[in-house]
Amino acid sequence: MATGGCPPPVATPAPLCYLALVARRRGSPAYSRRSSGRPRTGGRQRGQQSPKFRAALCATCLVDQFYPEVGVAAVKVLRRLGVDVSFPEDQTCCGQIAFNGGFRSHAADVAKHFLDVFENEEQVVVPSGSCASMIKVYYRELFEDDPETLERAQAVGEKTRELSDYIVNVVGTSDVGAASEGLVTYHDACHLLRELRIKEAPRDLIGNVRGVELQEMENPDACCGFGGLFSVKFPEISTAILDEKLKTIAESGAGAVVANDCGCLMHIRGAMERRGMNVRAMHIAELLAEDGTDG
């Protein structure tokens, strides 16, 4: 394949590929990843018989197409906790991008497809605060005038959980047995925080990663300026807002910034890469998937 310069996703042959995926950014000096060698303790362990938890993963379109390593990491963490993970393969997108653009009929079509795919699942887990908000909060708006679909949407909304919320509040542990190393700072993704009010769960999870210290940046809840369509419609404003975020990330001194949303991460990472900033932007699933042995 003509992808020589690409990071690990293709460079490593299967079946070890997913390990490489998780470890894709190698050799960042501020965030090295040597094995801590410590055995994992606490939390529900892998290898349980007849899993108590069953969850269908909604990967989100961004993870599916751009960041599959995040999906791989999420699966790894959930399986480690004994969750029986499934992936309904016909899934595509929650419809948020069209909805946010005002294109509601387009969004409704795609959202209905989402409902078709996930309706019969026991539990839906999403590694994104904004997609979870779309499903849990904004489907109500989208199907306001369509009572039948609204009812379906509400039912699916109720059984949908954002990944960190699911782990802490459904599986019931804030220690997933992860181990890594270094100073990590956490960015509150807007919808996760202000639509779903999830603030502590990700912090607890990060705090329990062996070898990792959570170092809060100033105004962790300040928007990164992404806003989906906003970032391409008003790139200058978006970048100006992002500059503030990058500044606070850098000032925190952390080697990695963690968030629960690939939208924010795409934005933050995109600028950090362009500027050669030596900080990793990683999804929380990636951090939680690390167990001190990979890399």
């Binding site: 997913y18 005002g102 708006e141 300040a222 928007c223 404003i237 970048t239």
Partner: protein, 486 residues
Amino acid sequence: MAEVKSAEFKKASGKALRDEKLQHSLEHVMEHFVGARANVIEDDFGDESWEAMRTRAAGIKQSTLEHLDYYLDMVDKSVRRNGGHVYFADDAAQANAIVLDIAKRNGVKTVIKSKSMVSEEMGINHVLEGEGIEPVETDLGEYIIQLAGETPFHIIAPAMHKTRQEVSTLFQEWLKTAPTQDIKRLCVYARDALREKFAVADMGISGANFVVAETGTVCLVTNEGNGRMTTSAPRIHVVLAGMEKIVPAIEDLALFLRLLPRSATGQRITSYNTFASGPRAPSDEDGPEEFHLILVDNGRLNLLRDEVMREALRCIRCGACLNHCPVYRKIGGHAYGWVYSGPIGAIVTPPMTNMKVARDLPYASTLCGTCKDVCPVKIDIPRLLLHLRYKVAEGAIGERSTTWMERLFVGQWHGAMRSRRALEGKANLGRLLTRPFARGGKVRKLPFTPMVSGWTASRDFPAPAPRSFARLWREELAHDNGTELR
């Protein structure tokens, strides 16, 4: 009438972003407001009771709006009972005509004004000047803006973008004062100039923070005392109020007067709370001989009629949503192109003025939701922005209001996202097309794609992953029994 320049949003915001001095002022002032608000709320109430107060305030405002006809009628009766006059103006032109009529009838030469956003909508100063009547703004910020020939930069801090040097230069030019960097000195200069006007003005025009239906009382919240001068010194007092300013009873002010200053400036109480209930009574020693209340629609009915947008009329113009908005904090108020700026400006400007001209404004937000959290009357601003976007993209103003690129993108996206098969097909095509431009998994530049180039001007864009997650799942993850994967 104030001109609507919202079509220039993009250009104007770019200009603001490049203005270093402006960026400095914005950072400074916004930081101050945000900090002061947070501190005073924490000290006085804590989150829970503050939340309860917001809920109550939202309820009072909303129910007043739901029965606005009833309360408008009540205001009318109360004010007339107090000896005042009430007018209903459909638009800015009508409101201007009413003011002019009152002024001319009384041979008015000089008008002093306290802060009124409605008067900005009306552009009353120009109208008065055109008739040879001198309008003088008496709120210090508004006064500076008037001398500079500008419009307010912020709802409650209209001249926050002006430095002391700039103010000094303005005063030198207009008031012939000596140059100074001393803010106290500058205030004295302004006060001296304004005192003269207070003494000779025959008409005072004020806004209204609240109009109490039951008593016909107009409540003004100010810090400089100019509101009290405006409402009491001249012979005639004219009040300009948006018709949504009504609260039912005087008791309601106990709540709103706690919410407003804390949300706005982080003050527990402002220096002056002024209550004006009509002209002077025979037993009064002073006060105006005439009292006129003009209730202005000027596009508010468009909000009231729309069940979703209606809650925007709960706004008490505290400015908290501006202070906390990541977009406003970067571009300031002028870019929004009309009287109201920031999140509240983005939701009220299109329906109140012209959807087509102001169509960029609903999109000028990251939907981060901070505005909704700080709003003292709990206006769900993100939801209203989304509602307006819907109108722009599909509804009221026709398909042409979004760009062809956006429509093309959404069309393609729609085709792709309706099934996994379609998605994989389009995604593979995407991989093929972007491959020549990808370096190290990143795209720095894509030709012929105006939407992407906005992104790539400052940020790398990820190249599509060689294998989608779905494919990875199919080919590897699904076969793993799950428990041993690590």
